[in-house]
Amino acid sequence: MHPVVPYVVAALLFGIGGFGVLRRRNAILLLMAVELMLNSVNLVLVTASATVRATLAAAGTAAHTGQVFVLFIIVIAAAEVGVGLAIVLQLYRLRGSAEVDTVPLADPEPDREPEPGPERVVVR
């Protein structure tokens, strides 16, 4: 089999995932896109574990590491989706909408002028 095929598929999936993350406004869809990216990484790892066993003689026993890594990634992704959705729902509960682009990064009001007027400093 030619490893380049699954690799290219994984690459495209990662690209699509990235595109989805940046384009979607709804948090849940965003999570779906992130799932896509993680799955593409899984695909790379599985293909790598297949190719590694064949080409690099040195990594004899470590051939299955790729697949072990994938297992771990799947579990981590599941856990993160769990917590992520809880947080999104909390935001939904408080804000009425799960829109991502209404979440401000910096405090909205204008930044302070450098130095308020001189004030008297009282030190006993």
Partner: protein, 495 residues
């Protein structure tokens, strides 16, 4: 631990202990203990002179400290707690101790003096004396930085109306200087492997390139501290806004950190750099003299005028150092001490005038001779001493800086000498203008509250007046002990 070493450690430990203890004690007691601590430090610093034969570690070493204490503090940072005193640093240490004692005493007598101010004074004294005693580059930097915050707090809390901005400019500018020093220090330490000044003096281990780079950083850092002309703009604001005590310490001793650093590290550790940059430094120094004098001529506020006069005087000191010859460096040393004493006195007087009349504006002042004859007399004496009247302390530094410049022989240096001499004449110009505005002439409308001199003021100023006269008549007091080390330094620079 010889007696000398114990005294050496005491000179640092006593003010440190004072600085820690004073804030904890009740107000009145605190200020007395603070003054006591300052007095003890002065005593310890004077005692350093005894047993000068001292432990000369390496007879051949160019820097032969009279007493020195060496201990490891942080080998990981090449930082050794190596302090020692020798001919060059001794007068400066005594001057610091004296000025701090006078300031603490001055605060003792005043109703509004606060114990926090005394604590900050002692903290600053630890930093300054530490810098003068440090014989390890990194330790020099650490003490150099210790001075920063106490001075900032002094200006920012007890200063005049515009103190906040002035204090901020002061601390940021000086921090820029000291951070450049840090980079310079480690350029040298990385190349030489050791940070010990005694070993490094003479620039033996350093290649020419490192010395040039190192000296550029040192020169920048110390030019900010001893205000060399283009980098001086923090000084007038800081002085005008600082409380009397703050400006005395600021002008009296803080500027000397820069010039002492230039001598001990700039000329000492990187002599080739000093030789290479001599003409540039000389030209800037002369520019400082002339610009300082001219700006003073057009100045309208008393403390600002005295601040700019410091820029002028330090110009002479830096000219002395720039020449790199033994005569030049000695002129710089005595110029340092003289400026410390005279400008300290001037700032005390300026503070007294401001307290009495409430304003520093020259236009509002006048006729002090009639309203407060005692104060006017001392102000006249200080102004005359400051303009470099021979027979008083200021004269030797200025004349022999010009002598050293002309001694260099090349036409360029002779021109510098001549311009410096003209600068000296300008100095006379603005000081006499000051006297005419403030003391002579009809008494101004501004009421002068306590006409006579308070006892505390007399006590604080008498030593300074006496010192100006004594150093003026017997300069050997200051220079006597510095012949050896200065010769060694000058040899390094090929002066």
């Amino acid at each position: 631990m010889t007696a000398g070493q114990v005294v050496l450690i005491l000179t640092l430990a006593v003010p440190a202990a004072g600085a820690v203890a004073v804030p904890l004690l009740p107000d009145r007691v605190a200020r007395i203990t603070g003054t006591g601590a300052a007095g003890l430090t002065l005593l310890a610093s004077v005692l350093l002179y005894a047993g000068r034969g001292g432990t000369s570690l390496e007879p051949a070493a160019p820097v032969r400290p009279w007493h020195s204490v060496r201990g490891d503090w942080a080998p990981g940072l090449d930082l050794q707690f190596h302090i020692g005193v020798d001919g060059i640093s001794y007068p400066l240490v005594v001057l610091t101790a004296l000025l701090t004692l006078l300031c603490c005493g001055y605060l003792l007598g005043r109703p509004d003096g606060s114990r926090m101010l005394v604590a900050l004074l002692l903290a600053a004294e630890v930093g300054i004396v530490g810098t003068f005693l440090a014989l390890d580059l990194v330790l020099f930097f650490v003490f150099f930085e210790v001075v920063l915050l106490p001075m900032y707090a002094m200006i920012a809390i007890w200063g005049g109306p515009g103190r906040r901005a002035a204090a901020r400019k002061f601390v940021l500018y000086t921090l820029l200087g000291s951070v450049l020093l840090l980079v310079g220090v480690f350029v040298v330490v990385a190349a030489a492997g050791t940070a010990d000044i005694v070993a490094l003096t003479g620039g033996g281990q350093l290649g020419r390139g490192t010395q040039l780079l190192g000296f550029t950083f040192f020169a920048l850092a110390f030019a900010v501290k001893a205000p060399l002309w283009p980098l001086h703009t923090w000084l007038p604001d800081a002085h005008t806004e600082a409380p009397t005590v703050g400006s005395v310490i600021l002008a009296g001793v803080l500027l000397k950190l820069g010039t002492y650093g230039l001598i001990r590290i700039g000329v000492g550790v990187t002599p080739e750099g000093a030789a290479w940059a001599a003409t540039v430094l000389g030209t800037l120094a002369v520019a400082a003299i002339v610009v300082g004098a001219l700006v003073c001529l057009a100045q309208t506020e008393l403390k600002r005028l005295i601040a700019y006069s410091s820029v002028g005087h330090m110009g002479f000191v830096l000219l002395g150092i720039a020449t790199g010859s033994a005569a030049g460096i000695q002129a710089a040393l005595i110029g340092n001490i003289a400026h410390g004493v005279i400008t300290g006195l001037l700032f005390f007087l300026a503070g007294a005038i401001k307290d009495r009349t409430g304003t520093g504006e020259l236009a509002a002042l006048g006729g002090l001779r009639e309203t407060a004859p005692g104060l006017a007399g001392i102000l006249g004496f200080a102004a005359i001493a400051s303009l470099g009247l021979p027979g008083l302390a200021g004269f030797w530094g200025e004349v022999f800086a010009v002598v050293a410049a002309i001694q260099r022989g090349s036409p360029g240096w002779t021109v510098l000498g001549v311009v410096a001499a003209v600068g000296a004449a300008l100095t006379a110009g603005y000081f006499l203008r000051l006297l005419r505005r403030v003391t002579h002439g009809p008494p101004a409308a501004v009421p002068v509250a306590p006409a006579g001199l308070a006892r505390i003021e007399l006590v604080a100023w008498a030593p300074l007046v006496g010192l100006t006269l004594v150093i003026g008549l017997l300069p050997v007091l200051v220079l006597g002990m510095a012949y050896g080390p200065v010769e060694a330094l000058a040899v390094g620079v090929g002066g």
